[in-house]
């Protein structure tokens, strides 16, 4: 994976600052720097290109409308944007506007080689390493359940069905895993 690029991170920070002051051109810069990542996040949750594109459009329009609310001093704009996009996509699922598509995500989209917006570059590598190290301390059914729940926006019931375990078991896996994750992360926070 490409190492983090302070330069790209600074570019995004600067664009977010301009955006928060109402500069519309900045929205396009933010879009170019982040849309591949945010689209990937939405697609993984919604499982359908069209739905994910609608979600993506909604994310940037909402970002523009609420730009004044963004705290430009925030350390990691990409983490904030990723969380924002994830939450909007999960909202679409939960409010029943969208039925999850059946297409496996891997088959649904290919990223062109050498696309400049392949933005592993924006990631804070150290922070990422920490949460992954903590996830690795979890036992397998717990770890997998937490990742799937978070990255694909699944509910307890869906996870239980997919893993063919009772609902109570699934809840227990996730709750144990979350406690362990918190304890581990607090060790480094």
């Amino acid at each position: 994976m490409t190492p983090a690029s302070p330069e790209r991170r600074e570019q995004l920070k600067a664009a977010m600052l301009r955006l928060s002051k109402g500069d519309r051109d900045a929205l396009e810069v933010v879009y170019r720097l982040t849309s591949v990542k945010l689209f990937g996040i939405c697609l993984r949750i919604l499982g359908d290109r069209k739905e994910a594109e609608d979600a993506l459009q909604d994310v940037y329009i909402t970002l523009w409308r609420n730009a004044a609310r963004y705290d430009a001093k925030r350390a990691s704009p990409i983490a904030w944007l990723a969380t924002f996009a994830r939450n909007r996509a999960v909202d679409r699922l939960r409010t029943g506007k969208v039925r999850r598509g059946a297409v496996p995500v891997e088959a649904a989209a290919e990223l062109p080689d050498g696309d400049p917006s392949a933005d592993d570059l924006l990631i804070d590598a150290e922070r990422t390493a920490r949460v992954h190290a903590c996830l690795d301390t979890l036992d397998e059914p717990q770890r997998g359940a937490i990742r799937t729940a978070f990255l694909e926006g699944r509910t307890y019931a869906e996870l239980a069905e997919r893993n063919a375990v009772p609902l109570g078991t699934m809840k227990s896996w996730i709750r144990r895993g979350l406690l362990k994750l918190r304890t581990c992360m607090e060790g480094g926070e």
């Binding site: 609310r69 994830r86 920490r130």
Partner: protein
């Protein structure tokens, strides 16, 4: 084996997106009115955010950007009134900084960014207050325009819970001042409120602004705010 429980569990489940139906609605309501709880959710979001760094990259169709640009264009969408106000605030800061050159440029600029709501250049400086909702990226932004006796309230971050309203209160500077209601906040919106002239005169630098939790429809007794959930101070910019 121990499990996560209580408030922190609920916050984690909300941040994970595990809740649905009634549970989800109930927690959304708490997010809006309980700053401590919203803080717990924010902590979990921060903890979990790095998981999103796992590559899931996929390129959207090129049309998506055109659609976004088109949607903004179509509604001729200027940024929210709050953003426009912030621009003016920046202008006033420059004037206050006392640079003659900057001031001249700034006065010229006053007419530019406001688009179809031109402001007289003689406006008194706006007063602003930012009311942070503890440990979350959310805040309620207030901007008061003295000459127009108008208050802009940006409450995008609040969500209605169906059981409570939030109300804004002014406590004018000085001892023994009584709280005066500025009205119930409309969650999830940015709105423009006209204040009556007496109330507008009390909107002065240093005045406290409180946000209280009230029954639906607002405080039954307009001299007594309910539990205060957040506060800020009116300041020149």
């Amino acid at each position: 084996m121990p499990e996560l429980s209580g408030e922190d569990l609920l916050a984690a489940e909300y941040a994970m997106g595990l809740l649905e139906g009634e549970d989800l609605l109930a927690v959304r309501g708490r997010m809006a009115r309980e700053t401590a709880f919203a803080g717990l959710v924010a902590q979990w979001e921060t903890r979990l955010a790095p998981l999103l760094d796992e590559p899931a990259h996929a390129a959207p169709s090129p049309e998506v950007w055109s659609r976004i640009a088109g949607e903004l264009e179509e509604r001729d969408e200027a940024p929210s009134p709050v953003v426009l106000l912030q621009r003016r605030v920046a202008v006033w800061q420059r004037i206050a900084a006392g640079s003659a050159v900057a001031a001249v440029a700034a006065v010229a600029l006053l007419f530019v960014p406001l688009g179809n709501t031109p402001a007289p250049a003689t406006d008194a400086p706006p007063l602003v207050a930012s009311i942070p909702i503890a440990d979350t990226p959310l805040r309620i932004g207030l901007t008061f325009l003295p000459e127009r006796e108008e208050l802009l309230v940006a409450a995008d971050g609040l969500t209605a819970d169906g059981a409570h309203d939030h109300e804004l209160w002014l406590i004018p500077p000085g001892e023994g001042a009584q709280p005066r209601s500025l009205g119930v906040v409309a969650p999830g919106t940015q709105e423009r409120v006209s204040l009556d002239p007496a109330l507008a005169r009390s909107m002065r630098q240093g005045a406290q602004i409180l946000l209280s939790q009230e029954p639906l429809g607002g405080a039954p007794d307009k001299s007594a705010p309910g539990p205060v959930v957040a506060q800020g101070t009116l300041a020149k910019t």
